[in-house]
């Protein structure tokens, strides 16, 4: 690892984020909530730190694959720390760990909150909350690649580390163009949802912030009751549709925008994603119906559709307290949490395509027991999946289980109960938001011990960067290869 080059790039990213920290300022002035000094202070702090890093460390001419991991992991950590400052400095969240939790939950599009009363927060801070979602959803490094030639060196390593997934679909030969396309589609869809929500009578501020949270599959809402605040079926339907789209591969949206609507159905992952969701909705609806959870069948259907979509796409918006649903429905939702969205979406979780290939692999092993001499290739659509991609997926599952179990053990060791603890880990590791019981949809994470919050922060980051980017830091050899940074001023000997 070339630590000097990594820190230099980190400085540049800090500057980008510091500029982003100025976006809530107009809202602050408009709503006169007195947050202008806080945001300006944070922005200045970020600029100073970023400039300091750039001045101190010389950039490297080239980056290695490994360095990509380091840059992405470090920058996500430090960006989240910087993003936590507005909460802390303004005094809205007195504990720094809580502020850090809220910020990390924002950037990783998790949507778990430690706030019990969201509505008292200043408007500009609410905007910043969802802004972190929006930036984290498509990836701040991808954004930087897309709009600024700032990073200088070929961004493939960075792109791969920030937008993981078992297979890559590059839309253009140049990674910068791909990043630009993805962000344009993302931006366009956000604008579209904002417009549609405003048609339903939502004011501009809430329409924008909720669109940010939907498209990023984040889940922060400006209301304590989340989306249930809006009783309009239209608003809920718009959000359902956009959650569903945000959980699908953005390359497909790009192709659809170019006129190839069939691209969706031709994609095996998308079909599977759709089927899983449709089955889950049906099963939960029936379960709720049989147990008389709802008196109103239409409301049951609407809430089931909303919650299943919200959970599977890892958004985490709520219109119903699913913690009161029958055990079967709750467990099914937890299952959906694990699966998550499609690769190339803003959703978290294991990803549909990984599950699909995982089970295809298992099936081919079973076939081999029946026909010992059979040769079978694993295919996705009509394309053959290379052996090393398969091995990558299998080891992903191993790391995933290891992280899940050790995090659950740690959280329960800190005294959290057996439903709350693991479900909090699931909800954060898969970037969903609400878990079950004490961290259920009507609850929040504020009451958890501070150490447990740190564990969950780690889970959120690991889940967002899909494990490998974080797990590589636990390989001792990674650190041993660290090279001394090249400083701009050599210390006098």
């Amino acid at each position: 690892m070339r630590i000097g080059g990594v820190l230099n790039l980190l400085g540049r990213l800090l500057i980008v984020l510091s500029l982003m920290l100025l976006t809530p300022v107009p809202f602050s002035i408009y709503f006169q909530d007195g947050m202008v000094p806080a945001f300006l202070t944070c922005s200045m702090l970020g600029l100073t730190a970023g400039a300091g890093l750039i001045i101190l460390f010389l950039p490297e001419k080239e980056l290695q694959f490994k360095d990509g991991f380091a840059i992405v992991a470090f920058s996500w950590l430090f960006l989240a720390l910087l993003g936590a400052l507005p909460y802390y400095i303004s005094g809205c969240i007195p504990s720094f760990i809580d502020a850090f939790f809220e910020s990390m939950s924002g950037f990783t599009t998790t949507g778990s909150t430690i706030l019990s009363n969201i509505e008292v927060l200043p408007k500009s801070l609410l905007f910043w909350r969802t802004m972190t979602h929006w930036l984290g959803g498509m990836g701040i490094i991808v954004l930087t690649l897309a709009i600024l030639p700032l990073l200088g060196i070929g961004g493939m390593q960075l792109f791969q580390a920030e937008v993981p997934g078992p297979t890559k679909d590059r839309l253009t030969p140049r990674i910068q163009d791909t990043a630009r396309i993805l962000w344009s589609v993302y931006f366009l869809m956000t604008a579209l949802e904002t417009g549609l929500l405003m048609l339903g009578g939502v004011d501009f501020f809430n329409a924008v912030t909720h669109s940010f949270a939907t498209l990023a599959t984040g889940g922060f809402s400006n209301y304590n009751a989340s989306i249930a605040h809006y009783h309009s079926t239209y608003v809920q339907l718009v959000i359902i549709v956009f959650m569903f789209l945000a959980g699908a591969n953005f390359s497909l949206h790009y192709m659809a925008l170019k006129g190839d609507l069939k691209a969706y159905w031709k994609n095996e992952e998308f079909r599977f994603y759709f089927y899983i969701l449709a089955c889950a909705v049906l099963l939960i609806f029936v379960a709720n119906h049989i147990t008389h959870t709802y008196t109103d069948t239409f409301k049951n259907l609407r809430d089931t559709l909303f919650q299943a979509t919200s959970i599977m796409t890892t958004t985490g918006f709520g219109t119903a307290d699913f913690d009161r649903w029958p055990p079967f429905a709750r467990l099914l939702l937890v299952t959906l949490m694990f699966i998550g969205g499609c690769a190339g979406s803003t959703g978290g979780g294991i990803k549909v395509v990984r599950c699909l290939l995982f089970f295809k692999y298992a099936r081919s092993q079973l076939h081999r027991l029946v026909h010992p001499r059979q040769v079978e290739t694993i295919k996705l659509g009509n394309m053959r999946v290379a052996q090393d991609v398969m091995i990558g997926i299998l080891s992903f599952f191993a790391i995933y289980i290891a992280v899940f179990i050790s995090a659950s053990l740690m959280v329960t060791a800190l005294g959290v109960d057996i439903v709350t603890g693991p479900s909090a880990v699931i909800a954060t590791l898969n970037n969903i938001g609400p878990g079950l019981h004490l961290v259920g949809p009507t609850q929040n994470y504020g009451h958890l011990p501070s150490l447990a919050k740190l564990v969950l922060i780690f889970c959120m980051l690991a889940g967002r960067l899909e494990l490998y980017t974080i797990a590589i830091f636990f390989v001792p050899g990674f650190w041993k290869m660290t090279r001394a940074p090249r400083l701009r001023w050599k210390r006098p000997v």
């Binding site: 076939h367 059979q374 040769v375 053959r384």
Partner: protein, 445 residues
Amino acid sequence: MIVGAGQVGQYLCEKFSSEGQEVVLVDKNEKKLQRLERELNILTVRGSGASARVLAEAGISKTDLFIAVTDSDEVNLVACFVSRHYSVKTRIARVRSEELLMPDSLLNEEVLGIDLIISPDWAMADEIIKLIQVSEAFDTAEFSDGQVLLLGYIVHQDHPFIGKSLYQIGKIAPDTKYVMAAIIRQGETIIPRGEDVIQAGDKIYLMMLKKDMAKVEKLFSFSSKLPSRIFIIGGGDIGYMVARQLEETSIEIKIVEMDKKRCEFLSENLAHSIVLNMDGLDAQALIEEGIDMADLVIAVTRSATTNILGSLLAKHHGTKRCITKITRHDFIPMLDKLGIDVALSPRQVAADMIIRYVRRADIVSVATILDTDAEVIEVTVPDSKRFDNVALKDLKVPAGALVGAVVRQGKAFIPSGDSRIQPGDNLVIFFTREAARKVEEFFQA
């Protein structure tokens, strides 16, 4: 003029020269040419088919039909290209490359200026698919856009019609329309009459309308159910193409291939066939995979020995039927005795296609009957007094020929002696080779 004295080339030389055509054969291999010149009544020229000088020397300026069937796609295409400078009427090239054969290929027949592009392997695969669709038949040909079928069956030991004459069989079900076009008895072709009697071991050719196929097969107690389990031994081009076409049906397919790399290719490109990496002669492994329960085994490896032995092995263990690819035409009569149901050679299938194409001018389609000297053609009745509203029995069709079906305005029917024909009708005629010339002359306007 034929370029390339490979298997297809030799077969075509034999076929055309026996019909009295002047054949010039161009090839590089002198020994082969000397032998063929001795055996067949043809002229040979040594040299490369891609050389304009050689072709000119061989007399391309006087050639009507130009067929390039060397092993190399490039030579064939270049040879056809050269021939475009001369007044050749029809150009035919054989190619292997899949890219050229795809229907949407950029280099299609029109662009290349070639009348027919054929591939023996593709032709063979098509033939196999046709045979699978009419399960018990060992030979099949279609006429008038598939309305009329000619199917060949083997009469087994315990067949109910043994010892009965055609007249007697006809009386059993007078409503079922078919024509028994030929009986092949010990390699000899008989154009049957009412008093001929069916014997065990005969191969009979029945001509019928496609829609009547089920009825006729029931009458003759031949079953024609689609097989449900198929084994393909050999995952070469033929095996692959057959499997790919069969995947559209619900047939369960297993492909046996020795080469690991090829197996991976197959499993990648086929949707749900089971690809097995093993030797097609490994009896133990084949039985473990259930070859004894298979309805059909298609042996299409590169080696004829493996194909024949593999088929015999499968038959021995209880496979109902097998289609075997062979490369040597001379073996076909012998395979019969061994109990192999259908033996096909790609060169013959391809050569048939060429002959069918060449005769297309006034004769609509042609099929040669496997392992016999008989052919079936579809001709259009010329506009002449001789044919106007004449009953079939008065038509005086040359000896050794028989009208199997009549197609009038796109609709086919099976005629009886009293049926009258009109100019413009298409007749499907079955005839032996001795009668070929006479039949062609008979229908000249």
